[in-house]
C-alpha cells in the first residue's frame, strides 16, 4: 500500500514539475475592439502654416477607424522630435503610437519633418522630411498619414486618394446637377461638370485620370468619358433606351454597361478603342450595375431574374452565370473588395437598405452601416473603407464605414444633396 502511495506521489511530483517546466502558453482570447490610441502632436512652428498639418493627420487617422487620436488638451507635453519624447508621459495616457514633427519655411513653400514612435516599445519607427508648396499642405499631410498608417498596419494608406460624387440643388425646373471630384476627406472639391439634367454613376478609370458617367444633358441618358486633366470628353454610348452604369475593366480598355437597346436592360462590354459591343446577358429580366472582378476575368451584376434583385457573377471565359447572394430578398449594387475575396453591396433588411459585406468563400453576409437608406457603396482602393450615399434628414449625404463595420462617419459637404460617390484608385 505504502509503496503504491509512494508511486502515486512520485507520479504527482513528476506531473507538477512537468507542468512547471513545460513551455507555458497562456491563451488571450479577449481584447478591446476599440481603435488604437495614437497622439498626433501639433507640429512645432505649425502656427505659421496656412493649414494645421497635425490636425489633418489626426482627422485622417481617426476616420480610418483604426485609430483613436488623443485630444490635444490631454497632451501634457508637445515634443517636436523623437529625442524630446518622454515615453513615460505617453504611456500614462495609454497612447500606443506618437507622431511628432516640425514645420519651417523653405523658399516659397514649407519643409515638414515628422517622426513616428512606438510608445510601448519605446522605438522610433519612421522619420521623413516632406517639402510642399502652401497649396499642397493638405496633400503633404495626407502623404504623412499614408506613411504612418502603412508603418503601423502594413496596409497602404488611401488618404491621398480622391472621391467623385454628384450633387443636386434646387427643385422642379430649377434643379441643377453637378459632378465633383474631391480629396478622400471631402476637402478641396472641384467641379467637373454642371448640368440642368441628371448626372449618374461616375466611375474612375483604373489610372485615376478619367471618369465615365451617365448624363441626361441631351434629355436622354448617354455614357461619357471625360479626362480630368484637360476636361476633354467623348460620348461613347447613346443607344436608344437606357445607357447606364459604366464600369471600367481593370486594364482600362473596356467599359461594362447596361443597355436596353434590345428590350430589357442587359449587360454589355464595350471595347473603348473600337466601340465594339459584346452582350453578356440575354434574358427577360433586368440586368444592370456591372462591376469587374479585380483580376478582370469575371463581372458582378444585379439581376431580378429570380424575382427580386440579387447579385450574379458572369465568368468571361466560360460565359457561365452564377448567383452569389442568397440572404434576404434584396441584394444589389455589388462591388468587389480589392483582393477579390468579398463583395460590398446594398442589402435590404428589416432595418432598411444598408451597406453589407459578403465573404465569397463562406457566403456569409454582414451588414455594416447603421443608417437605413443607403445607396451606391464604393470601396477604397486599400479595401479598408466603403463610402456610400445615405439620407440625413431630408438631404442626401455621404457616409463611410470600415470594411468590418466597426467605425463609421459622415463626410462634410456644402453642396446640397450628395449622391453616387465613387472612390478613386491609388493615384501615382
Amino acid at each position: 500500500m505504502k509503496s503504491l502511495m509512494t508511486a502515486w506521489l512520485a507520479a504527482a511530483l513528476l506531473l507538477v514539475s512537468q507542468l512547471a517546466q513545460a513551455d507555458l502558453t497562456i491563451e488571450i482570447t479577449r481584447g478591446n475592439e476599440s481603435a488604437t490610441p495614437i497622439a498626433v502632436v501639433p507640429f512645432a512652428g505649425g502656427e505659421e502654416l496656412p493649414e494645421d498639418v497635425a490636425r489633418v493627420i489626426h482627422d485622417d487617422l481617426e476616420r480610418s477607424g483604426y485609430f483613436e487620436p488623443l485630444p490635444r488638451r490631454q497632451m501634457m507635453d508637445q515634443p517636436a522630435s523623437a529625442d524630446e519624447v518622454r515615453y513615460g508621459d505617453w504611456k500614462a495616457l495609454d497612447v500606443r503610437y506618437l507622431v511628432v514633427g516640425s514645420a519651417s519655411r523653405e523658399g516659397d513653400g514649407y519643409r515638414l519633418r515628422f517622426e513616428l514612435m512606438d510608445v510601448s516599445g519605446e522605438k522610433r519607427m519612421l522619420g521623413e522630411v516632406v517639402t510642399a508648396d502652401s497649396g499642397e499642405l493638405r496633400g503633404a499631410a495626407h502623404y504623412i498619414s499614408d506613411q504612418v498608417f502603412e508603418a503601423i498596419t502594413d496596409i497602404r494608406g488611401a488618404f491621398s486618394t480622391r472621391i467623385a460624387y454628384v450633387t443636386s440643388q434646387g427643385v422642379g425646373d430649377d434643379m441643377q446637377f453637378a459632378l465633383y471630384v474631391a480629396d478622400a476627406d471631402g476637402h478641396n472639391s472641384q467641379q467637373v461638370l454642371s448640368s440642368r439634367e441628371p448626372i449618374l454613376s461616375p466611375a474612375w478609370s483604373p489610372d485615376g485620370r478619367k471618369l465615365a458617367y451617365v448624363s441626361f444633358e441631351t434629355e436622354r441618358p448617354a455614357i461619357y468619358v471625360q479626362e480630368l486633366g484637360s476636361g476633354q470628353r467623348a460620348r461613347i454610348s447613346s443607344f436608344q433606351g437606357i445607357n447606364g452604369a459604366p464600369a471600367w475593366s481593370p486594364d482600362g480598355r473596356r467599359l461594362a454597361m447596361s443597355l436596353s437597346k434590345d428590350g430589357q436592360p442587359e449587360i454589355y462590354v464595350m471595347d473603348i478603342g473600337s466601340r465594339d459591343l459584346q452582350r453578356l446577358t440575354n434574358d427577360s429580366a433586368i440586368d444592370t450595375e456591372p462591376s469587374w472582378a479585380p483580376d478582370g476575368r469575371s463581372l458582378l451584376f444585379t439581376s431580378d431574374r429570380s424575382g427580386g434583385p440579387q447579385l450574379y457573377r458572369h465568368d468571361l471565359a466560360s460565359g457561365e452565370q452564377k448567383r452569389l447572394t442568397f440572404t434576404g430578398n434584396y441584394n444589389a449594387r455589388g462591388r468587389f473588395s480589392p483582393d477579390g475575396e468579398a463583395l460590398f453591396l446594398i442589402h435590404r433588411s428589416s432595418e432598411g437598405y444598408q451597406v453589407a459585406r459578403q465573404d465569397l468563400e463562406s457566403g456569409r453576409l454582414v451588414t455594416l452601416s447603421e443608417s437605413r437608406w443607403d445607396e451606391s457603396p464604393s470601396v477604397a482602393p486599400n479595401g479598408t473603407m466603403v463610402i456610400f450615399a445615405t439620407q440625413q434628414g431630408n438631404s442626401g449625404v455621404l457616409g463611410a464605414v470600415t470594411a468590418d463595420g466597426r467605425a463609421s462617419f459622415r463626410l462634410p459637404s456644402a453642396q446640397g444633396d450628395v449622391r453616387e460617390p465613387a472612390w478613386s484608385p491609388f493615384m501615382n
Partner: protein
C-alpha cells in the same frame, strides 16, 4: 521509508500551493494583457499570433517577441503592444521562490474569440 513519504507529502503540498499561486499568476497575466489589448480592425477570423515573453526577476519585461506570426503585421504588433503595456508583472514575486524562475518565460497565444 515513512520519512520519505512524509517528505514527499510535504513536497506535494508545497507543489500544490505553488501550483495555486502559479494559476493565480497566469490568470493575472491573462487579465492584464486582455485589458490592454487593442484588436485592430479587419482581422481575419482565425488569426492567431504567439508572443514569446521573458521576464526579469521582478516581473519586468525583458523580451516580448513574435514566435509565431498571424501573417497580419498589425495584429502581431497589437499583441506585442498589449504585453508591453500590461508589463511589468510584479506579482511574479508573490510566487514561491522556487518556482519564480519557471514563470519568467512563457508564451501568449492571441486568438480573438468573437471578432467578426
Amino acid at each position: 521509508m515513512q520519512r520519505l513519504i512524509e517528505g514527499a507529502d510535504e513536497r506535494v503540498a508545497n507543489a500544490q500551493q505553488g501550483q495555486q499561486a502559479a494559476n493565480d499568476f497566469i490568470a493575472l497575466v491573462r487579465q492584464a494583457v486582455e485589458q490592454s489589448w487593442r484588436i485592430p480592425p479587419n482581422v481575419s477570423s482565425g488569426a492567431t499570433a504567439e508572443i514569446s515573453v521573458r521576464l526579469g526577476p521582478s516581473g519586468e519585461l525583458f523580451v516580448a517577441e513574435i514566435s509565431s506570426s498571424s501573417g497580419d503585421s498589425a495584429f502581431d504588433r497589437s499583441a506585442v503592444q498589449a504585453v508591453e503595456a500590461a508589463a511589468p508583472f510584479a506579482e511574479l514575486r508573490q510566487l514561491p521562490a522556487g518556482v519564480q524562475r519557471d514563470y519568467r518565460q512563457f508564451n501568449l497565444r492571441f486568438r480573438p474569440g468573437d471578432v467578426r
